[in-house]
């Protein structure tokens, strides 16, 4: 086992385990920390691990997009919102009891365990043959041919979201 651990496969497995640990530790920090800015840092850590998992799923393009969009954009936007809406979650006045926390963690563990049980019980059928490699060039071609309608719709959704968020954060502010 020790010899095989230092082979190429062993090193790959170690890097994969590091990515999994990063993902789960980041997610736990994100939900367990009482200070919001630490939660966002945990979220960024979790997204970093998810990008590594995407790399192992044979998609370096999606790994880069995950870093650019999630870590580079969404986390920064959340940090800006935390700066604008400072909260006092650190010194809570109405802390829900320990019993509620135990019940919540038990039910969520049961939920995750049920999904894992279903996923492992089902024997997934292997696909016969693949039609292409899934490279970046083929993604771009599929995005502009067979998925062009949803591509246009998603840009429309983004435009509406930009205008809507501008309108929402503009209203209620008194004119200088």
């Amino acid at each position: 086992m020790i010899q095989t651990l230092f082979s190429a496969d062993g090193l790959t497995t170690i890097i994969f385990l590091v990515f999994i640990a990063t993902t789960l530790a980041g997610a736990l920090i994100a939900v367990a920390s009482q200070v919001l800015i630490r939660s966002v840092s945990g979220l960024a850590l979790c997204f970093l691990g998810v990008a590594g998992i995407y790399y192992f799923l044979a998609s370096p393009f999606l790994a880069m997009m995950q870093l650019l969009i999630y870590v580079g954009a969404i986390c920064v936007v959340i940090i800006f919102a935390i700066m604008l809406a400072e909260s006092d979650e650190g010194q809570r006045r109405n802390n829900p009891g320990l019993l509620a926390g135990i019940a919540a963690s038990l039910s969520c563990a049961a939920l995750a365990g049920g999904i894992i049980w279903l996923a492992l019980r089902n024997g997934w059928d292997r696909v016969a043959e693949r039609t292409n490699e899934g490279s970046v060039e083929q993604i771009g071609r599929a995005l502009l041919t067979s998925h062009s309608m949803s591509f246009e719709l998603i840009s429309l959704v983004l435009l509406v979201a930009i205008i809507g968020s501008l309108v929402l954060s503009r209203s209620g502010r008194n004119r200088q």
Binding site: L36, L43, L57, I82, A85, G113, R130, N132
Partner: protein, 108 residues
């Protein structure tokens, strides 16, 4: 099962995604501010993305479909984060709080 083939097995990714989903739901239940709930919902979305990418890698005949779908999930998540954060800012401007228990104007 050979432990060195861990990264080449569909079940590994499904288990990671299920655990991430459970953590996200736990955060949605437990967090008491809107931004905390938004962070937890991002965890749930990334769990769904990992599932799509895993099925795309191991089972799909056309491996571009899952990657494009994951890209769309990212775009939807970005739009959702922008809208949710501006709603949170509007709520903060009216109530001076982003605590979920402070918004009880409609409470009977």
């Amino acid at each position: 099962m050979n432990p060195l083939m861990l990264s080449n097995c569909l079940s590994t990714y499904l288990i990671i995604a299920a655990v991430l989903f459970g953590i996200g739901i736990f955060g949605l239940v437990r967090r008491q501010t809107f931004i905390g709930m938004l962070i937890s919902s991002e965890l749930v979305l990334s769990a769904a993305s990992i599932n799509f990418m895993a099925f795309n890698r191991f089972l799909a005949p056309d491996p571009t479909t899952g990657q494009i779908f994951t890209l769309f999930i990212m775009a939807i998540a970005a739009a959702e984060a922008a809208i949710a954060l501006s709603i949170i800012l509007a709520v903060y401007r009216n109530y001076r709080s982003i605590d979920t228990t402070d918004l009880k104007d409609l409470e009977g």
